[in-house]
């Protein structure tokens, strides 16, 4: 019997008549941990995909998104797999900062599922652009978490952007993040007119994704969507 990928306790599936004859796909998480890791079911803001009861103002946008709109944002919409709650914070910290790459297996199924819920029918073709790490950061982590997510999706990835080395976003205050200069630059051009889907691990203030989107917008990509693991 395998152990749970997160709590490392024995992971024994409940046997029911439903899975007695045809076993379920094995879940790397135990039932307790899986229960703590539920995808976003209700979306509060149609733009950034914030979880919660829907906002009831005129344009059904949350205040953050209204502010982005005033700055003529180039980003059409964001959708995320999980709410960025305590469990998710701990898991992402372990995955990204400790470098426990395997944890992607715990997210895998729900990433694919949520992608098809939100994006599969929206457009025919996507070009996935995982948010890059700076060279230094990539060496330190030995993997790019955004690429790990993009790899699970059924469309090709292209590296259109590069990132300058700077302080980690998570170490900055909210204000500092939104005010910080654009850390990206365009390094390649994409000819096809397929829709760009930016992929990242967390949408917090949205600053990173808006920076990336505005650059791609300048390169004449008009429809830019984003997809993140947590919101």
């Amino acid at each position: 019997m395998t152990n749970c990928l997160w709590c490392n306790k024995a992971n024994e599936p409940n046997v029911t008549w439903k899975n007695f004859f045809i076993p379920d796909k094995p879940d790397p998480l135990c039932t307790t941990c899986r229960a703590n890791l539920q995808p976003i079911s209700k979306i509060a803001c149609t733009s950034c995909g914030r979880p919660g009861e829907s906002v009831t103002n005129a344009n059904s946008l949350c205040r953050d998104c209204e502010r982005w709109q005033q700055q003529r944002a180039s980003l059409l919409q964001n959708r995320s797999v999980y709410p960025y709650n305590e469990t998710m914070q701990a898991m992402i910290a372990q995955w990204k900062y400790r470098g426990d790459y395997c944890l992607i297996e715990a997210f895998q199924e729900q990433i694919r599922q949520q992608f098809s819920v939100h994006y599969a029918k929206l457009r025919k073709n996507y070009i996935l652009v995982p948010i890059p790490l700076s060279r230094e950061r990539l060496h330190e982590r030995a993997f790019n978490q955004a690429e790990a997510i993009a790899k699970l999706l059924p469309f090709p990835s292209r590296h259109l952007l590069a990132r300058r080395h700077g302080e980690k976003q998570s170490k900055k205050s909210r204000k500092a993040r939104i005010a910080s200069p654009n850390p990206f630059q365009l390094v390649a051009a994409e000819q096809s007119q397929a829709t760009i889907l930016l992929v990242d691990d967390v949408y917090t203030t949205g600053a990173t994704l808006h920076h990336a989107a505005s650059l791609l917008n300048q390169a004449r990509h008009h429809d830019i969507f984003t997809f993140t693991l947590a919101r």
């Binding site: 395998t2 152990n3 490392n8 372990q94 400790r98 470098g99 426990d100 790459y101 395997c102 990539l138 060496h139 982590r141 030995a142 993997f143 790019n144």
Partner: protein, 485 residues
């Protein structure tokens, strides 16, 4: 030769450490070699843990002052830092550094990730030398005869090489003070000492006490989240996990509470302590409740043992009283304490004493709280458990007698001293209360010389082997104590 731990393991990681550097080089022409030796000697470090720039590291490697060791072997699959051999605790990562997909160790990832493509680094330069103060020990207390005898045996063991000694001392015997004489001698000989304990609380508690006793010696305290990671010292107090970063470092390793979690539960930890010791090292084990494997070795005389059957105040251990209560589970299901408890409660000889109630599960501690508060309005009652954020504060309040009755899980089973309490273990037959836990919990009573007795009850609805064994062992120790007098 390194089979001290043989009996303690379920699955034994390979303890062939022949890949570690064998000798030290005599190369001394490098700037700051002394301070580097102090910082790096005896350690097994990741690249990120080396305080060196790339060019500095290359120079040191070239001069054979630092050696690299492959970090993960594949046949058999093992992490050389933590000894992990469990295939399910290895992950695979498509590595952006080497562009290959390879193993990394998930077992010790909290201490920094060990990757197959990156080696571990080991100092092979001259060993560090720490100044030896003239006056080493500043402790001027007096040992009881039982303590003095143990201190003598410990000192002798530390002077010899390649030996081990078990010090079986009852709860509240004053173990720390018994170590002082040996530590003083070892420090005087320039030996490096490590005191390893399973819990961070103990490191935090011991560090100031030892610093006071050895004021001229640098002592480093290491635990997860401790500020001090770098100060080089001849004397290290650490949680066992912190020893992961050491190899062939110590002449003397003192292992506190050898029976406690996780030494007996995690075979990898004994791998780590074994490696942290030098080849000729002395091992001192301290315990109040040796487990079966150690007891077997004591009986067969393959493990030298010294007993300290009396507490430092010279009084015997309070013997537990087994109280049968048929309604125990019925009452607990209604979040109440059973009749058996109340009749004991009524006729306690010292009703003024504080009460420590051990409860098997976290859920029960919180469930029992409201009804108890109602039934005992004169008491200030709190519940404490491992997931409690105010844990430290509540324990402090209990010590200061602001709380008079404390409900707790096994987290307060050892290492804590309250001067004057009665102890009741509710549902003593529960599986979480093994023999060692029962003895330790009973050992919380009667610890002060001003109030050296205390009542202990095991409330049960059916005797278990663990309860009987615990009672028998306490009686045996008291018996042994009487013969010393």
């Amino acid at each position: 030769m390194f089979n001290h731990f043989k009996d303690l393991r379920q699955k034994r990681p390979s303890t062939d450490f022949s890949y570690l550097p064998q000798g030290e080089s005599v190369n001394t022409d490098y700037p700051n070699i002394e301070s580097l030796a102090k910082q790096l000697a005896g350690k097994l470090l990741l690249r990120e843990e080396l305080p060196l720039e790339a060019n500095q590291l290359n120079a040191l490697l070239e001069k054979n002052l630092i050696e690299t060791i492959p970090s993960i072997t594949t046949k058999p699959l093992q992490c050389r830092r933590c000894g992990n051999q469990d295939a399910s605790l290895f992950g695979k990562i498509p590595c952006a550094r080497c562009n290959k997909t390879h193993f990394y160790c998930r077992n010790c990832i909290q201490m920094g990730r060990v990757m197959e493509c990156t080696p571990l680094y080991c100092w092979t330069g001259p060993p560090p030398e720490f100044p030896i103060p003239k006056q080493i020990c500043a402790w001027d207390g007096k040992l009881t005869p039982a303590q003095a005898q143990a201190a003598q045996r410990i000192t002798e063991a530390m002077e010899q090489s390649n030996t081990e000694l078990l010090c079986w001392a009852v709860c509240g015997a004053g173990k720390t003070e018994m170590l002082f004489q040996g530590i003083t001698k070892a420090l005087a000989q320039g030996k490096h000492i490590c005191l390893a304990t399973p819990r961070a609380d103990v490191v935090r508690e011991l560090l100031p006490r030892l610093q006071k006793a050895f004021p001229q010696t640098t002592i480093t305290g290491l635990y997860g989240g401790s500020e001090d990671k770098q100060t080089p010292a001849p004397f290290v107090i650490a949680t066992t996990h912190q020893l992961l970063r050491y190899a062939r470092a110590f002449d003397v390793i003192i292992i506190d509470e050898i029976d406690a979690f996780p030494y007996h539960a995690d075979p990898k930890l004994s791998f780590v302590t074994t490696r942290a010791a030098k080849l000729q090292a002395t091992f001192i084990y301290l315990t109040a409740t040796p487990r079966k494997d150690l007891q077997r070795r004591i009986k067969s005389k393959s493990l030298p043992t010294v007993f300290v059957p009396l507490r430092f105040h010279g009084h015997p251990l309070p013997e537990p009283q087994l109280v049968l209560s048929f309604t125990l589970h019925k009452a607990l299901a209604r979040n109440q304490l059973p009749q058996g408890f109340w009749s004991w409660y009524q006729k306690r000889t010292h009703p003024a004493r504080q009460l420590l109630l051990f409860i098997p599960t976290i859920a029960q501690t919180t469930q029992l709280l409201p009804s108890l508060k109602k039934q005992l309005p004169n008491h200030t009652i709190e519940a404490v458990h491992a997931n409690d954020n105010d844990r430290e504060e509540k324990i402090q309040h209990f010590r200061a007698k602001q709380i008079t009755l404390l409900l707790t899980t096994t987290i307060l089973e050892r290492g804590v001293t309250f001067p004057s309490v009665d102890v009741a273990i509710i549902d003593a037959g529960h599986a979480v209360f093994d023999q060692a836990a029962l003895i330790q919990m009973a050992g919380r009573a009667g610890r002060s010389p001003d109030d050296p007795t205390g009542e202990v009850i095991f409330l049960h609805d059916g005797k278990t082997e663990a309860m009987l064994e615990a009672k028998r062992m306490i009686q045996q120790m008291n018996q042994r104590g009487r013969t010393i007098d």
